[in-house]
């Protein structure tokens, strides 16, 4: 069970630790209602959180740089390809559906004739 009555300095240090260890969601989930309110209303916390993020970037971002950029580029390209496919898909369906309605109309007119 999480410790639910942390003071603002404890909350900041826990946030900083979570950011450093890459588990911010766990920190957010551990917040009790009063703690969340404390964070939201504390200007000091917002200021300190900003510097914590900067320290995190300066101190730990180096380990985040992936050596295989080529693999990442192929992921981006696949994402773009999937978006292109999605963008084209509705127009095809539309065309197909309009074609069907034209066929139906033609059949109807043939029947009526």
């Amino acid at each position: 069970m999480p410790y639910t009555n942390r003071e603002i300095q404890e909350l900041l240090v826990d946030y900083a630790g979570a950011l450093r260890d890459g588990c911010v969601p766990t920190f957010l989930k551990s917040l009790a209602r009063e703690e969340a309110h404390r964070i939201a209303s504390s200007r000091q916390f917002q200021d300190a959180a900003e510097l914590t993020r900067i320290l995190n970037g300066v101190g730990f971002a180096e380990k985040a740089v992936t050596p295989n950029v080529g693999l990442f580029i192929s992921r981006v390209d696949a994402n773009i390809a999937s978006r292109l496919k999605k963008a084209r898909a509705p127009s095809r369906r539309k065309r197909r559906s309009t074609a069907k309605t034209v066929d139906k109309m033609e059949k109807r007119t043939e029947k009526s004739i």
Binding site: I8, Q9, E10, L12, V13, A16, G17, A18, L19, R20, D21, G22, C23, V24, P25, L28, K29, L31, A32, R33, E35, A36, H37, I39, A40, Q44, Q46, D47, A48, A49, E50, L51, T52, R53, I54, L55, N56, G57, V58, G59, F60, A61, E62, K63, A64, V65, T66, V69, F72, I73, R75, V76, D77, N79, I80, R83, L84
Partner: protein
């Protein structure tokens, strides 16, 4: 801005979709390291950073209008954060909002805030400012921050400084507030 990045930007801001898609590779190569380091500040997790960045690049490809008038690397990072990364960062955290005590607005302010003076500084400028301001701190304060940045836990820092975990938390909190003010003053001076 270096020539490689300028050419890459020119490519991705073109009007033809296929041409923009081909131009993504040099653009990603020129910016990946800068962007992932910047994003790491907010997420602290490289897997999450890559996932977010993948969508950010695809968003840039889809709608590169905001990058048309960018003329420096600093401006590029700022524009990409404000118009592309921030939206994605908010999505990451808003997904889990129903389980949290923080309101949606407070979480947005905490996880994807507006950029302040310090956050707009480049990595090298930040390192330089940090080095100078760390030197102005008291020895005990500096040691606590340095140990924390090396990856020490609060308990380990407490053992190192021969004090309690509670005292370490208070010391780190106060030092961070002090450091922030000193860095901001330094940034305003320069």
């Amino acid at each position: 801005m270096n020539r490689r990045l300028r050419n890459a930007l020119k490519g991705i801001t073109g009007t033809d979709i296929e041409r923009r898609r081909r131009a993504m590779e040099p653009f990603v190569r020129a910016t990946f390291e800068t962007f992932i380091r910047f994003l790491y500040r907010y997420l602290g997790n490289e897997v999450e950073c890559e996932d977010v960045l993948e969508d950010v690049y695809a968003d840039i490809w889809e709608n590169p209008d905001r990058l048309r008038n960018v003329d420096s690397e600093k401006q590029l990072v700022k524009t990409v954060y404000l118009y592309y990364m921030r939206k994605r960062l908010r999505q990451v955290y808003s997904r889990m909002n129903r389980y949290l005590s923080l309101s949606q607005k407070d979480m947005k302010n905490l996880m994807a805030p507006e950029l302040d003076v310090l956050e707009m500084m480049s990595e090298s400028e930040l390192k330089q400012t940090l080095r100078r301001t760390l030197n102005k701190l008291k020895a005990r304060e500096r040691r606590a921050i340095e140990l924390w940045m090396t990856g020490f836990s609060n308990r380990a820092i407490a053992n190192e400084l021969k004090t309690t975990v509670g005292a370490v938390k208070m010391l780190i909190f106060r030092t961070i507030i002090k450091l922030k003010q000193m860095m901001r003053d330094y940034a305003d001076e320069t």
